[in-house]
């Protein structure tokens, strides 16, 4: 600044030039800053829009998967009722027809007994359908018992060694949360049984002040996070999308990992304790 002032004092010719070019330089610099800000902003805005579009597409896939899953579940229940319970009740009706009055008392008794057995079977079937929708153990005794129940059944088959250990489950989560977690674990276990060829599955639970954690270990062929994210974005396959949408409802996170020694896979679920419904 002092140099410029000195220059202005000595030669007005040069000072005029310096002033003119200085002004032009300053204005160019200013315009450069303004254009940089505008173009940078446009770039960021475009990137954000792209990101939002991708997120919307993902949401749409999850929503479609959830609707499709609901429809499939309804179809399964409808098929169970139509194919199993319907014929049973129709058969029971046959045994209890009007001609029964004209039968011998012994035959009447036999018919009533058979009809009773068929109705018992129908009741059992309906109970099974109802249990598959909402496991009574889960409702009455909580997630820990329901998980133990599920893993005992798997263990009972003799093909897979399944075990459960809950470290800190003193306060139960909300029933809706428990059901969602149960379904997630059920789906994961189903996938492990179907695709991984595992020899053991082990479920552990632990918690801290804010979150509850569940971890599944298995020694079969599993997937890692990148693969889960990729499968989650493809249009086919419902299971993983259902897991992702349930995790989203729970406001939680899921991690698919392989241990450093590459001997077993881990699936960890993190659920906030105060998730709102």
């Amino acid at each position: 600044m002092i140099l410029l002032q000195t220059l202005a004092g000595t030669s007005s010719y040069w000072a005029n030039y310096v002033m003119l070019f200085g002004t032009l330089g300053m204005v160019s610099l200013t315009l450069g800053i303004v254009f940089f800000v505008i173009f940078h902003q446009r770039k960021v805005t475009r990137f954000n829009a792209e990101l939002k579009k991708l997120e919307d597409e993902k949401q749409q896939i999850l929503l479609n998967a959830s609707i499709k899953f609901q429809e499939e579940e309804r179809n399964r229940i409808a098929a169970d009722l139509h194919d199993d319970v319907g014929p049973l009740l129709a058969t029971a009706r046959l045994y209890l027809n009007e001609n029964m009055i004209n039968q011998e008392p012994a035959a009447q008794l036999q018919s009533i007994f058979t009809a009773k057995q068929i109705i018992d079977d129908a009741i059992q079937l309906i109970r099974n359908i109802s249990h598959s929708m909402m496991p009574p153990t889960l409702k009455n005794f909580g997630l820990e018992s329901a998980m133990s129940d599920l893993f005992q059944k798997i263990n009972g088959s003799g093909t897979l060694n399944a075990s459960v250990r809950f470290h800190d489950y003193r306060t139960r989560l909300k029933l809706e949360q428990e059901l969602l977690i149960f379904r997630i674990i059920q789906e994961l276990v189903n996938n492990i049984i179907k695709h991984s060829n595992a020899g053991f599955i082990h479920l552990t639970q632990n918690a801290n002040a804010t979150h509850s954690y569940l971890r599944l270990h298995h020694d079969g062929q599993g997937i890692i996070q990148t693969e889960f994210d990729r499968l989650n974005h493809v249009s086919h396959g419902l299971g993983l999308k259902n897991i992702a949408s349930r995790i989203k409802v729970l406001n939680g996170r899921i991690f698919f990992e392989i241990d450093p020694s590459h001997t077993y896979y881990k699936v960890t679920i993190e659920i906030p304790k105060d998730a709102r419904f």
Binding site: L4, Q5, A8, S12, M19, T23, V37, T45, N48
Partner: protein
């Protein structure tokens, strides 16, 4: 030479007119002044228009040059205060009060001291250069802050952006003029160059300020449209009613 002087004279008149335009536009769209920063800016345009009117009166009727220089000094201080308040509302940095408030106090003291030390008829060189430098830095920081935050709407839909562009061009364009003004104000060649550059830069500044007023109007209109409640009676909706 006479033709050149006449052209410069017209340019000066045009500059005076341009200085009044933001205030006139604000008066037209007075109802659209909703936010505090725009209110402050409206007051600035009012003070600017008022000082221009007084300046014209002093120049053409009283032909009093020294009073005009004093008026310039007063306007400079007011401009600094208004712009400080304006950017205090526009910048989100939590330490902004620690910058703007002391700077304004220091600037006022410095302006008074400069007035007392120098002759009253002298050009207020030091406060002008300090104001230029200070607001160039503030505006560059403002843009830096805008780049940091990712927003969904483009920056040029905000009136603050156009105001900042206007002042950035004004201060950067005039910086060298103000810097040389102290030693070369008596030089005729410099005076011509000064008038030319100052007028062009000021006209551009006012064009951008007018753009800001119009952008503000559009923005407020859009916000009002978005805030409008849905006025449909969904209970009586009839899909077979062709008049709907």
């Amino acid at each position: 030479m006479v033709k050149q002087n006449l052209t410069l004279q017209y340019l000066v008149y045009l500059t005076y007119l341009a200085e009044l335009f933001p205030f006139i536009l604000f008066l037209i769209f007075f109802k659209k002044i909703k936010s505090t920063d725009i209110r402050v800016f409206f007051l600035y345009t009012f003070v600017l228009a008022l000082s221009i009117c007084i300046s014209i009166y002093l120049k053409f009727y009283l032909k009093d040059g020294s009073s005009r220089l004093i008026l310039n000094r007063i306007f400079l201080v007011l401009e600094f205060i208004f712009l400080s308040i304006f950017y205090n509302y526009s910048i989100t940095n939590k330490y902004k009060m620690w910058i703007f408030f002391p700077s304004t106090i220091i600037f006022i003291i410095l302006s008074i001291q400069d007035y007392l030390v120098s002759f009253s008829s002298n050009f207020s060189f030091i406060p002008l250069v300090i104001e230029c430098l200070f607001f160039l830095l503030v505006i560059v920081y403002f843009f830096y802050e805008k780049i940091q935050h990712s927003i969904s709407t483009p920056i040029y839909t905000s009136p603050v952006f156009w105001i900042s562009v206007g002042f950035l061009i004004y201060f950067s364009g005039n910086f060298f003029l103000f810097l040389f003004s102290n030693s070369m104000y008596k030089d005729e060649n410099f005076k011509t160059q000064y008038t030319l550059i100052y007028s062009i830069v000021t006209i551009f500044k006012n064009i951008f300020l007018c753009t800001a007023v119009i952008t503000n109007k559009d923005l407020v209109n859009q916000q009002q449209m978005e805030a409008k409640p849905i006025d449909i009676d969904l209970g009586t909706f009839n899909p077979y009613n062709k008049n709907l």
